[in-house]
Symmetry: D2
Subunit: 338 residues, 4 copies
């Protein structure tokens, strides 16, 4: 950390700041310039709240010069993380993965039909929600564990891995037998109790970026999971909130190269939530792969307009098949496979 003192800071103020830094376990190097003194602090600064130092008398500003995360940082695994699944699928390597399925698991026929379509299109991951957080208390709330069992069967029958969202700590145990990858939704990105618990399991976690979260905060949340020993974390960009209203969210495609620079973790693009509009899903999926995304997550449904939730952003089967073909070409164009 760097503490820049004000030009008129007194020696007493400089001493007080130095002491406060040392009390926090930080070694202090002082540079005295003609007009300004600078204190460089080296030590366990990751867990410090730097704003506290900014309030001390005589301080101009305080900067963090090392990233506040360690395990998630690129330097920890310069070669990049590849998350491997029991069916042989990988997320993070040269092959771009595709995760597809309905927003919500609705019934047996629906999920088996979709699983078949996912397999036929060459994708290796089936997604579907068993617990749906809805803004209206009267809307469809999901089938719960029975729905998850259905999806797990459908996935197994087609050699797919089952990806499903965990909403609460208490659901983890019941979900474990039927879930190959736990998704953490945008609203739970900073539910630290949930993250800590997911650090204890030994199944991959797909962590979505919060709607107003910075990339640094996303990496900090992944650190929470990894600090429990679960290093199989997959990040996901799904749109951030901006002033623009012509799309539901603004999908931050640049988060993909930024994450690749800062971290070794794979990153998935979710153009369904990223745009909220069916006609934007294909161009944004292609853009994500072109920018280096390690996987794409899309919502599909045989009868998209009648889907129990997220109908507006869900693809029909033929749209999905066309997209898979197009993504295949784009992946090749950036030196990868699909």
């Amino acid at each position: 950390m760097i503490v820049a003192m004000q030009e008129k800071a007194t020696e007493d103020q400089i001493d007080a700041v130095t002491n406060a830094m040392m009390e926090a376990g930080v070694n202090v190097h002082r540079t005295t310039g003609v007009s300004q003194t600078i204190l460089a602090g080296v030590g366990p600064t990751a867990s410090l709240d730097l704003e506290t130092f900014e309030q001390l008398p005589g301080v101009l500003n305080v900067h963090r010069i090392t990233a506040p995360y360690k395990l998630a940082g690129r330097a920890f695994r310069p070669e990049g993380t590849v998350v491997e699944f029991p069916n042989g699928a990988k997320i993070g390597g040269n092959q771009v993965a595709v995760i597809a399925g309905p927003c919500a698991i609705e019934n047996s026929e629906q999920i088996f039909t979709i699983a078949k379509c996912v397999k036929a299109a060459g994708a290796k991951f089936l997604r579907g929600g068993a617990f749906k957080p809805r803004s209206s208390p009267y809307a469809f709330q999901g089938l719960g564990i029975p729905g998850l069992k259905l999806m797990h069967e459908a996935a197994e029958e087609n050699g797919l891995m089952a990806v499903s969202e965990v909403m609460e700590l208490s659901q983890i145990e019941a979900m474990l037998p039927y879930t190959d990858c736990f998704q953490v939704g945008a609203r739970n990105m900073q539910n630290f109790n949930l993250l800590r618990e997911l650090g204890q399991i030994r199944k991959p976690v797909l962590l979505k970026r919060g709607i107003a979260a910075t990339i640094e905060e996303l990496l900090l949340s992944s650190e929470y999971i990894m600090s429990g020993g679960n290093y199989d974390v997959i990040l996901c960009e799904r749109g951030i909130r901006t002033y623009e209203t012509s799309t539901r969210n603004t999908m931050d495609i640049s988060a993909i190269p930024v994450v690749h620079k800062l971290s070794h973790l794979p990153i998935v693009g979710d153009p369904s939530h990223g745009t909220g509009r069916r006609d934007m899903v294909a161009p944004m999926a292609k853009a994500a792969v072109a920018a280096g995304a390690d996987a794409i997550l899309v919502e599909i449904h045989p009868n998209a307009d009648k889907a129990a939730s997220d109908a507006a952003q869900t693809l029909y089967f033929d749209q999905f098949e066309k997209l898979m073909a197009d993504l295949c070409v784009i992946a090749t164009a950036v030196g990868r496979t699909l």
Copy 2:
């Protein structure tokens, strides 16, 4: 709801949209203009996802013309809600309430000292966190229920009401005996399971606006609680995320008059989280009261710089006492008392 068709929409497309609206239980009135047809839908549109209709062929755009909430709307209680507490304190009436206390309950001495200060300053609510969500897994996590018991004792001894944040559904029952008002934090504003459960209890709930939530979404979340029968909901503005970096968040003072126009629920201003900087707390607290806030929530600590959390935004006792005196004058200036 209003569906505006494209200029070139065909009769078949108009029929298909009309049918889709009627299937959703909505009565349709059609206006055929020279260049454009408009379909006005009347019925249970609050629970509909309007974006689904926007995807239908021939549709230009769709507008919601009634608010998606009912119980939280101004029309439901035009005279405004006044939440009453067992100690006689009210939030929502002519008197501006003050809720003060530490970010986290640290120990018995700390919380009793603070309670005494709160009482002496004339405030009627003591706040303190027992469960602290921290971005670092190694940071102080709060004292839990034992801490809450301490605060409850300190509050009782001083005739104050105890306000504390509930982090998870599972904590409600254990917190009930020691909590007079349940705070829902910004990160949980859309934790619908938690909100639904808080609708079942009969104690007031202080609901904080999410860091990227619109005012409409805040009101929708309050609707979740009220739909369970708990009408004692108090809203709280605590800063939103914008591009400006000189403050931690941008405290949206205009949310106060907007909420008063749209809803009957009282609204609290939280300048501590709203700014994240101790030197901004007083001016923003005054601004909130001047704009019509029904209460102010501030963090105080006898040794603010050493507070276990949120040190940078916590007031010292003398700063708090000065603020109370100033707020008293501002309250009078806007025709209220403190």
Copy 3:
């Protein structure tokens, strides 16, 4: 336009609103529902300030149901606009165009060297700034018209078209002989006097999206130029301001498909300004083409780190050549050429 009245609106209020709409030249159709009256207005609403109606007593809200632009709308030219240049190059057709050059024209050698590189790489447009708005009054301000002459010569010698930014109305005349395409910078997107004047010339205009402009506002600004009779407008996405700080701006890739849906005008992606970081230029350029951009605008310089301005986001020649090769493959992957 649609005016939704409040549930408790009186007949007098409804009459007053109806009269206000008719005074504004709008025909009114009234729909009286069980609980709410709706007034649909048809006529010259594009130039009306709808917020005025929202203030009238008894009004709940007001919606615009037709786009506030006409000439820029997709319906005006469903087949799409292709802007043609004297050297045979086009922007808007099947071929993806590339516009490259330095941020600022520095001297003869620099611009001739760059022009040669641009031509060799197969691009058809040379860009360079002659007037530089700098935040510091002491920084390099550009070479002015003499610089523009240099670039024009360099472009001619290599069969390229010269693209340069016009900062002020008064510069247009002097720039005309040396400029094949006038760029309007993000800060001038709503400089209506400048736009109106550019509507009078008969050379293409490249209009950049303002840093906080919505896509609708961008289209409204293009309407200003087109209303003067100059239909050769090319839009440009160059990043918007959001809360994310790891990139200078957030390049809104989804603006590309949105513009293609709403308008017939071509749209260019500018990954140099969109990210502000050299290492992000290539992935974001590829993403833009994958999402359907009609052209890419990049800053290049033989000695990028020493460029007189925008050094941090400027590509070296070899990086540019590599990018051209990659874009060529991506263009093919989306059914276009480069």
Copy 4:
């Protein structure tokens, strides 16, 4: 400036960065830690583009530790700037000033009626636009210099100072005889040519914050004016663009205390543009004064609903008189006068 090197940076990389800093005229102090080297640069860093250094090999990140402005900084005039006007009015002292008038000057009767009302209410500044930038080319464009003459007469007759917006450099000379204070609109906040020219005149300038400008950028723009020798700059907060749509802009009240901390310049609150809604003007004006604003700028009109522009946010005379009375009490409550 501080350059933090990556942990694995080589000695060659550190040397290269050191040389680049020295070439830029900066003295370098090196601190070599166990895991990281830090280079502190002292010298003329205000005009440097720090992002250039961030691109050099081996660099982790770069921080500016001194403010990029000097003349606008608090330290330049710790006692604060008081701008004095020929009629004895001041902006920046203990008295809170009020600037009122129509959005646009429409005719003689209108502006004289308003001037009388402004004077009667005790305000000392009359505002009115002579040149109106309109998004529609067919809307009212303002009366130009003849309108300004009318306002100047009306102001003189009532002992008021005339405040009007300058849209373009070319208008300054013609406006000079009739303008006591030049307003720079939000869209021109970074029109550096205009700012530089306003630095040459000797009349006060009221500089509005851009709709997406940070407070630092606002101060940098004021520096542009001051560097020309014109120190009578008054800043103005008028709302920023955020994701919230219930108000036209989000008025950033916290900008007021932030500016007071960082700068010696006075700051005005503009609740008319800040909210865009008449019913929000009064609460936000009060909030601004409570937070320490040095002046308030409001739009008034005898027939507000029929105002030629900005009708939705314009106050009627009786609303303005009531507001003046209320502001007077609030000003007293914060130790000032009105």
